[in-house]
């Protein structure tokens, strides 16, 4: 079943084949410019491909937004070791559901992106690391890969150019942490999914200690159009330091939730009100998580801004993974904070102390606050504990748990205060003692 028709306000580039019938098949793909970019790239020099990507101002779509061309440029040219391509398809950030559409409706685009990346750095092996929960996508990807092998877009001597490239899928076992690139590599190698000490970064020492290009699905998928139409064209679609379009996954209290492709810098309120159909009748906007649950939340009055890296950073949040969660005035922010911390507590790998212990402690306090048996000092404590995790954990998961928590407590403090235990604390008695008797 093809994906729904694009909204007129969208700029469809990466999603332009979604609505075609039978869009995942190689025939549809080839009939709509499929593998043209790869064909072109196979005749290009490594430098030319990387330069084109650099010119495009493409930034990583997984969340961190690192310039892709620069990342590719870090891969050492003269390396005695083999080089690898790894696709991060461990899409686990709450609110994010774009990579699954790319793989479901246009899997050959991903294969094409990988092939171009492989050519750019001289890699001959790649893996698509798909989260375990995306079981049905593995079949789709495997089918597409089989088609690509059959049509000689993968395998030995691709299209007679003498270039070899093998690609296969690899399944995760259900850990958010494995979306972190070095933990993903550990998992790919068959080890416990825990992040590595960096540096070295994957471009120098990645999968099996070999130079590795590791990018998000959407990042690889953006590459074919860059090669086809040029980096300058792609850059011109976005804003000065971030080129192209990206997929916004709008969920929550909107009338038409979905995934929409917009140029970087598209106004947030237009995305919510026009594309996603606006809020339900009679409801007012309360808060927005702009780019996945690890981003600080924005209050309604902070949301009138363009969706680009710099504007969101200025507003104290992040563009992140494009997973926008819209919350209207019916939202209980204490519950929202609890739901978010529950997720990160569940997903904390346990490697480092602040994240391991901090997330559990926060969950326990927030559970209590939500149950109406919190005390006043708990509110500050939640904020302080999150601050104590921030910037001190081994990997960004700790920050991901701390940032939304800090922002919710700060911006919606009144809601927490309204939920405190309704007891009188006698003078001179510690509030926390009272809790025991509530």
């Amino acid at each position: 079943m093809p994906y729904n028709k694009p909204h007129p306000a969208e700029t469809i580039i990466i999603s332009r084949r979604f609505h075609l019938p039978n869009s995942a098949s190689i025939d549809t793909f080839l009939a709509h410019d499929g593998y043209k970019a790869a064909r072109k790239a196979l005749d290009m020099s490594q430098d030319d491909i990387i330069n084109e990507v650099k010119k495009s101002n493409l930034r990583g779509r997984g969340g961190a937004g690192f310039p892709t061309g620069m990342k590719w440029g870090f891969v050492p040219r003269q390396s005695p070791k083999p080089k690898y391509i790894v696709v991060n398809a461990d899409e686990s950030e709450p609110g994010t559901c774009k990579d699954r559409l790319l793989m479901e409706f246009d899997p050959h685009r991903l294969i094409e992106g990988c092939l171009i990346a492989a050519k750019a750095v001289g890699a001959h092996q790649g893996w698509v690391y798909i989260r375990g929960e995306y079981r049905y996508l593995i079949d789709i990807m495997d089918k597409a890969i089989a088609e690509a092998y059959k049509a000689n877009w993968l395998g030995k001597n691709v299209q007679g150019t003498g270039f070899d490239f093998d690609l296969s899928t690899h399944t995760g076992a259900g850990a958010y942490e494995c979306g972190e690139e070095s933990a993903l590599l550990e998992s790919l190698e068959g080890k416990r999914g825990q992040p590595r000490i960096r540096p070295p970064f994957p471009a120098v020492s990645g999968a099996f200690q070999c130079p590795t290009i590791l990018n998000n699905v959407e990042t690889f998928c953006a590459v074919p159009d860059i090669i086809l139409n040029g980096g300058d064209w792609y850059a011109s679609l976005g804003v000065p330091r971030a080129g192209g379009t990206r997929l916004l996954c709008i969920s929550g209290h909107v009338q038409s939730p979905g995934v929409f492709e917009v140029p970087i810098g598209f106004p947030m309120m237009r995305a919510i009100n026009e594309m996603a159909g606006g809020l339900r009748p009679g409801r007012k906007l309360k808060a927005v998580i702009p780019g996945g649950s690890s981003c600080p939340v924005l209050k309604a009055d902070e949301c009138d801004l363009p969706m680009d890296y710099d504007s969101l950073a200025k507003a104290g949040s992040m563009l992140g993974s494009g997973g926008m969660v819209i919350m209207d005035d019916s939202t209980d922010m204490v519950k929202a904070a609890l739901r978010i911390i529950k997720f990160y507590q569940h997903e904390s790998c346990g490697w480092c102390i602040p994240c391991r212990e901090g997330t559990l402690w926060l969950k326990k306090i927030l559970t209590r606050l939500d149950d109406g048996i919190g005390v006043r000092s708990d509110i500050d404590l939640v904020g302080e504990l999150a601050e104590n995790m921030l910037g001190r954990t081994f990997c960004p998961l700790g920050d991901a748990a701390a940032l939304p928590t800090i922002s919710i407590v700060k911006k919606f403090r009144a809601e927490f205060e309204a939920r405190l235990a309704q007891v009188q604390v006698p003078a001179g008695v510690s509030e926390s003692l009272v809790r025991i008797h509530v």
Binding site: W351, I353, P354, N388
Partner: protein, 692 residues
């Protein structure tokens, strides 16, 4: 140091080699950056976040354990932000920690306690319910209490990297993460207890030490383990004249912090209920307890009679006695009793090696050379089973210096895990020769060989070593704590102290047993009649000095209870010729050190064999035994002094057929091992680990 990096740590100008980690650079200049997971010699984790420090130009605090020094770096280890981070990390750490310090074995020597004392908050803000799981017993000697665990992963690393066993891993995730045996619910491992020792908190505890004492109630006695010949230093925790613990946390010995199951636990044989408490004399066919005076008188009188009658007296020395005892025994025997018939249970052909190395200097390897050599060749030895410390050194060498290891053995051994080449053959010399081209490539080599290379084969091995054209050093493996010293001291029928030929060649142990004319057999800490063997001479007067009623003692006319290595002082020489001092850990009733017994017998016989006193005898050893003129301060301060017995040729070589290793495993240790309940309690043979 070529091109050192200049940096500033806490206002102090510091130089460090490029690539040095900040935490090491700080330590080298006397600044201790706190850490739990960082542990010198093992892989980096950056997990505990205690070593976060402020570094100028970095927006965030940096982990000193993974940050290499850089020119011009300015570091503040005690910046307010860093101290605040440590305080909060400790606060996090204590949330699910049970804080059961009053009953925890580690209380008083716990790194978490120390750290909280230095950086921790005065009060707890955690008012939630703690996560609890029950304690688990993983083996007779290892217990794990997950709530106390801070997940620093030191145990996982020491087991994997240090021991090459990989018995431990991590299970679950987040705050519910636990350390767990990798296979099943129990440890099928070396039971070395390194995980317990390296644990900074009381999460891993020892099956025999737990709940016995508080650390400050013990006296800590640094002495040498009495089991295998590796000569590991072990620090005995002694309370109320009882050993309650063995460990080596002060890392002052040749073994650093290494100890195997025997060094850490197998001292319990000394309190076995079968331990001899009183001298015994055979009357009417039965051994009866008598006073020391009576027993000594009986021995002295009979020895004097036999000596006067010109009867043959055989003397069997011990592989556990001190150098002083062995030296005194042979001197007393040769000069006092006038007998040349002296021997001991030989387990390695050291005399043949000394002979083959004649004229060479620096040809005997030490435990340290096994850690530094570019290549190590192991011939006919299962190091991990029989010489666990030497095996540990080799593994550390591979890990830290990428040493190349070669093995030539009959069957699979653990060293093969990291070996460049492993050869399985019973023709050891042929196997060794096949590796010639590989070995030549290395800058230097240490060859470790077992009892499969003896007699002429030792000379052939050394000739092969010479042919390589690189510096080669050797270790001739022997079995027990002073097997090497017994030979150096001349407990051989052919050789006197320092491998000088004896004036008269005496009978070997089998010859004594077979002799029809043997008038007396004096057995000191040995069991030549094990398994109920009988002397050919029915009339022989048999005197046995031992800890237990051995098979030989059961046939004795007089039995004298002797002290163990933990109950006496003296020196012992390890397998690589390193002399170390035994320090008396506890007093005993009933038994006496062998040296004291020799002295009593000599005095009762009116024989002057010199003063039977450690310092006096050792002084004589220094003067008269080749290679033993070692600096006394090294020994006195608990160090190891290298004996250098190689000099000239050894003119009379002992019969190689008498060289036979007992073939102990990690969990056996000759007769002493049979009386260790701990060794008996670990059922699974560690050998099973390395097969298949």
């Amino acid at each position: 140091m070529s091109n050192p990096v200049n940096l500033t740590i806490d206002g102090k100008a510091v130089q460090a080699a490029p690539g040095t980690l900040l935490i090491d650079a700080a330590k080298q200049s006397g600044i201790l950056i706190p850490a739990f997971c960082y542990y010198e010699g093992y892989s980096l984790q950056a997990a505990c976040r205690m070593c976060l420090v402020e570094v100028e130009k970095f927006p965030k605090l940096q982990a000193a354990c993974t940050l290499p020094v850089a020119e011009g770096m300015v570091v503040r280890t005690e910046a307010a932000s860093a101290v605040q981070a440590r305080k909060t990390t400790l606060e996090f750490l204590l949330t699910n920690h049970p804080l059961d310090c009053p009953v925890c074995d580690k209380g008083g020597e716990c790194e978490l306690q120390d750290m909280v004392f230095r950086y921790g908050a005065g009060e707890s803000r955690f008012t939630e319910v703690k996560h609890h799981v029950d304690e688990k017993q993983w083996s007779p000697v290892v217990y794990y209490d997950a709530p106390r665990c801070i997940l620093c992963y030191r145990c996982v690393r020491v087991c994997d990297e240090g021991m090459g066993v990989t018995a431990l891993g991590i299970t679950h995730r987040g705050a519910y993460s636990e350390i767990t045996p990798n296979k099943g619910d129990h440890l099928n491992c070396d039971q070395c207890g390194a995980c317990i020792d390296i644990c900074p908190v009381g999460a891993l505890t020892s099956g025999i030490y737990r709940y016995q004492t508080r650390p400050w109630e013990m006296e800590h006695v640094g002495t040498i383990c009495t089991h295998c010949s590796d000569g590991c230093k072990t620090t005995l925790g002694v309370r109320n004249n009882e050993i309650v613990r063995g460990n080596n946390r002060d890392s002052t010995g040749i073994n650093g912090e290494f100890l195997c199951i025997k060094g850490r636990y197998a001292f319990d044989f000394i309190k076995h209920e079968d331990r001899l408490q009183s001298p015994m004399v055979r009357r009417n066919g039965k051994l009866e307890e008598v006073s020391w005076a009576e027993a000594v008188k009986a021995v002295a009188a009979r020895f004097a009679e036999i000596k006067a009658a010109g009867g043959a007296i055989g003397v069997a020395g011990s592989v556990h006695s001190t150098n002083e005892e062995s030296y005194f025994l042979q001197k007393f025997a040769r000069q006092g009793l006038g007998t040349p018939h002296i021997d001991h249970a030989r387990s390695g052909d050291v005399p043949a090696l000394i002979h083959a190395l004649a004229g060479k200097t620096d040809a005997l390897a030490t435990a340290d050379s096994l850690y530094h050599a570019k290549a190590v060749l192991v011939v006919d030895a299962d190091l991990s089973q029989q010489h666990p410390f030497l095996a540990f050194q080799v593994r550390a060498n591979v890990r830290h210096h990428q040493a190349a290891v070669y093995t030539v053995t009959r069957g699979p051994v653990r060293e093969e895990q990291t070996a460049a080449k492993a050869v399985h053959t019973a023709d050891y010399l042929a196997g060794v020769r096949g590796l010639g081209e590989d070995l030549k490539k290395h800058a230097d080599l240490v060859i470790v060989f077992g009892d499969g290379i003896k007699g002429a084969a030792v000379g052939e091995l050394v000739a092969f070593g010479d042919s390589l054209g690189i510096p080669v050093r050797y270790v001739c493996l022997v079995d027990y704590s002073n097997s090497r010293g017994a030979m150096d001291m001349g407990l051989l029928p052919e050789l006197g102290p320092g491998y000088h030929p004896a004036a008269v060649r005496g009978m070997s142990l089998p010859q004594m047993a077979a002799s029809q004319d043997l008038a007396a057999l004096w057995v000191v800490g040995a069991d030549p009649l094990a398994g109920g063997k009988r002397l050919a001479s029915g009339k022989a007067f048999v005197v046995v000095q031992d800890l237990f009623l051995t098979d030989t003692a059961k046939q004795a006319d007089v039995v004298l209870p002797s002290a163990s290595a933990y109950e006496k002082s003296g020196t012992v020489t390890n397998v690589t010729g390193q002399i170390q001092r035994l320090k008396k850990g506890l007093n005993i009733m009933g038994a006496k050190p062998d040296l004291e017994i020799f002295g009593l017998i000599a005095r009762a016989m009116g024989v002057d064999a010199g003063r039977a006193q450690n310092e006096a005898v050792f002084e004589e050893i220094r003067k008269s035994v080749r290679g033993y003129n070692v600096p006394l301060p090294v020994l006195a301060t608990g160090g190891a002094a290298q004996a250098q017995p190689v000099n000239g040729r050894v003119d009379v070589l002992p019969d190689p057929e008498l060289v036979r290793s007992a073939g102990d495993t990690l969990f056996t240790s000759g007769s002493l091992g049979r009386y260790s309940k701990i060794l008996g309690s670990v059922m699974e043979a560690p050998g099973a680990l390395y097969k298949g």
